[in-house]
């Protein structure tokens, strides 16, 4: 496993507007997520969680500081290059599932890969593999034929299909009951153990507790970080 983190924010600041009306959404946040790591971000609304996730995924750029994904500094890229890196390297999972209702589970997972120029045959093979990895046994069903938990599995498969290993998850358990939410975290944890890097935004501590590290944001700054205790060798 390489020591280079999959994503690194260094002293990242994001200011919206300027002058007296300027809003400091994020103030000098540094954060790294390595392959195999699950990092959770907690904080009240307005604390900068979404800004942090948007910066990490290249949906937004920092006012100062830097964001590096898989060794590539995002600030050095043109918008077009950034969009390409986002498509190839970063997967997203949201609370609202954003699956396309008229496409099957497998087709939903294939779509971003096909948009990226991967041929249909290969995209389907990758999709079936990704769906098998998340334990979905009905790849040809449509989203409304699946349960909420199964649909979220499809979204996770889509996020990690191909060569992507950075997964940004924004309240992925939002609409799920606790056993199903736990299943989703168990799955994210398993994908981490298989080499993915997961940055999870959640307001529920029971899900954050699955992380190796929990970062508490307050007013755009890191207020505290807790590491999971190292397992003692027995």
């Amino acid at each position: 496993m390489s020591f280079e983190p999959v994503v690194r924010l260094a002293d990242a600041t994001r200011v919206h507007g300027d002058g007296p009306q300027a809003v400091h959404a994020l103030k000098g946040v540094s954060l790294e997520v390595a392959a195999g790591e699950l990092v959770a971000v907690m904080g009240p609304s307005g604390s900068g969680k979404s800004t942090l996730l948007n910066l990490a995924g290249g949906l937004d750029t920092p006012t100062s500081g830097s964001v590096t994904v898989e060794g590539t500094p995002l600030t050095s890229l043109t918008d077009k290059e950034r969009a390409a890196l986002r498509r190839r390297r970063v997967g997203y999972v949201f609370q609202d599932l954003n699956l396309i209702p008229s496409l099957t589970a497998a087709e939903n997972v294939m779509l971003p890969r096909e948009l990226d120029g991967v041929r249909a045959g290969r995209a389907r093979r990758e999709a079936l593999q990704a769906l098998a990895e998340v334990g979905l046994e009905e790849p040809d069903r449509f989203p409304d034929e699946l349960s909420g938990g199964q649909r979220q599995r499809v979204a996770i498969a889509r996020a990690l299909a191909g060569e992507r290993r950075l997964l940004l998850a924004d309240e992925p358990t939002g609409a799920l009951d606790t056993p199903t939410g736990d299943d989703i975290l168990r799955l994210l944890r398993a994908r981490c153990d298989a080499g993915a890097a997961v940055l999870l935004v959640t307001h529920e501590s029971r899900y954050a507790a699955w992380a190796d590290r929990v970062v508490f944001l307050r007013d755009g700054e890191v207020a505290d970080t807790t590491e999971a205790e190292l397992e003692t060798a027995r």
Partner: protein, 175 residues
């Protein structure tokens, strides 16, 4: 303490030796309430005195089998059907600490944040145990109970922080 009723519940599945009861009690509660064998025999002799269990004759190894009586079954059913009263739980030091911090005009936010980080570490440890657990559903339920309690504490801390941040009294102090 629920040891009496816990032993009755185990005996309701059939006669048991004392040491068996101890093993099964700990297996069901994930060793959250370790029992020593002395407690088990003391409790059994009180249950016998109260007519809730009956003991058999000693076998050639000196072991005695205990079984539940009809009165014992009634007691166990009464226990299962009676909710636990909120007031039976001990007073919570954290609640008193935060109330006193507010009353004394101390800075409450660091107290909340320190507690939140500590409780999160506990939650992370419990979740690791849950992930690694291959034990039966009884033990998992006990773990889940501790997870839900820690989670409730976190939610209460978030609530306290939000309420205090919005209160003009505490805002003055933080400014």
């Amino acid at each position: 303490m629920a040891i009496r009723q816990g032993l009755l519940a185990l005996l309701s599945r059939g006669p048991r030796y004392g040491y068996q009861l101890r093993t099964e009690f700990e297996a069901s509660t994930g060793a959250t309430w370790p029992l020593n064998i002395g407690q088990v025999y003391t409790t059994l002799s009180r249950l016998e005195r109260d007519g809730l269990v009956a003991s058999g004759d000693q076998d050639d190894q000196g072991r005695v089998v205990y079984s539940i009586t009809e009165a014992g079954r009634t007691e166990m059913e009464r226990w299962f059907s009676t909710p636990v009263a909120q007031s039976d739980r001990p007073r919570d030091e954290l609640v008193i600490k935060l109330a006193m911090a507010v009353a004394a005009g101390a800075e409450v936010r660091p107290v909340i944040q320190a507690q939140r980080a500590a409780t999160m570490r506990t939650l992370q440890r419990l979740t690791r145990t849950k992930r690694a657990s291959t034990d039966g559903p009884a033990q998992t339920l006990v773990l889940e109970s501790m997870i839900f309690q820690a989670e409730a504490e976190q939610r209460w801390l978030d609530h306290c922080e939000a309420v205090l941040a919005a209160s003009p009294q505490t805002q003055e102090k933080q400014a």
